[in-house]
Symmetry: C2
Subunit: 191 residues, 2 copies
């Protein structure tokens, strides 16, 4: 998606430890017009698919999933990262390591919101090591639902998460798949 790649080149900032900051337009401040174009692109890429629900994970996946869901006209379900007083015990859960926060989270989804007949599209902002997508896919399998595909805004293609998931047979559509990035040389992308 050229619009997105151009924006990453223009406003993305590379920090030590392969951290990519895109918080001026994607995951702290949000450019709603860009989100709409992202949503339309996901709809275009999965236009051949019958999808009944979009599944994402809090927090920064929620906005992209909601905007995208409009083009599929389906509900969003977002996995929560820790057990709160408001969540019943009747949940599917999976343990996920967060490299951003350097901790482990149980991600949970109430059983009533994922049904065996559901055809799920997972949407998330980033794919790097693949832990979040693996956790979400695990929850889909626990529910006996079908995983149709995975839509990712930015894949760090130089990490192995995406390839590992593809080897497992998942259909991953990444709108920008970064081949290399550095503070001085900028970005290159996979086609």
């Amino acid at each position: 998606m050229q619009l997105l790649k151009d924006r990453i080149c223009k406003d993305g900032k590379v920090k030590a430890g392969n951290v990519l900051k895109v918080d001026s337009f994607l995951n702290h401040q949000i450019d709603i017009n860009l989100y709409q174009e992202i949503g339309k692109e996901f709809k275009s890429r999965f236009s051949d698919c019958d999808i009944t629900k979009i599944l994402t994970i809090e927090a920064s996946g929620i906005g992209i999933a909601c905007i995208t869901a409009q083009y599929f006209n389906v509900p969003v379900v977002f996995a929560k990262k820790s057990r709160t007083l408001n969540i019943s015990n009747d949940v599917y859960s999976s343990r996920v390591h967060s490299f951003t926060h350097n901790n482990e989270n149980d991600i949970i989804v109430s059983k009533e919101f994922l049904l065996p007949e559901d055809k799920i599209l997972i949407i998330d902002d980033f794919l790097a090591n693949g832990c979040s997508v693996e956790g979400l896919a695990h929850i889909v399998s626990l529910a006996g639902a079908s995983l149709v595909g995975v839509g990712i805004v930015i894949e760090k293609g130089f990490q192995d998460g995406g390839d590992n998931l593809r080897k497992k047979g998942m259909r991953i559509e990444s709108l920008a798949r970064i081949k290399s990035m550095s503070e001085d040389k900028g970005f290159t992308f996979y086609p």
Copy 2:
């Protein structure tokens, strides 16, 4: 907003400790068509206002803020609840007590995303004791920006948060303001 009140009556569940569960349509599973109607209603209620940004707080505020932002055609900024490796030190912060999680969070917004010339609409899913809105309003004031108003989906009108904020001169628009709720008697609303 009658559509929302009807939905609360139909699908909202009252639990011990004045907990209202609306996670089948508002903040775990999301009814995107309802979100769109909520967004249009906020636009209608604040149609007289010049707004440059919508400010919300992760996690469940993000989806409503993004859908709403489309009708105002402005960016969203969401406050984060804890310092991550990806956030610079150059942030505005405010300490907020969460009754849901029974803990204290520093909510933070990068200084670069709130400017003195910004006219801010705060959007959130719930207003009960008012702590989140107070924290967000505090951050708006730290930035020297103007707080135009506060749009709330569900106000627990039997708690004093909303009244306290109104007494401070804030313009609060709640789409459903609950007067009373109980497991057996259901809901009543303020007009």
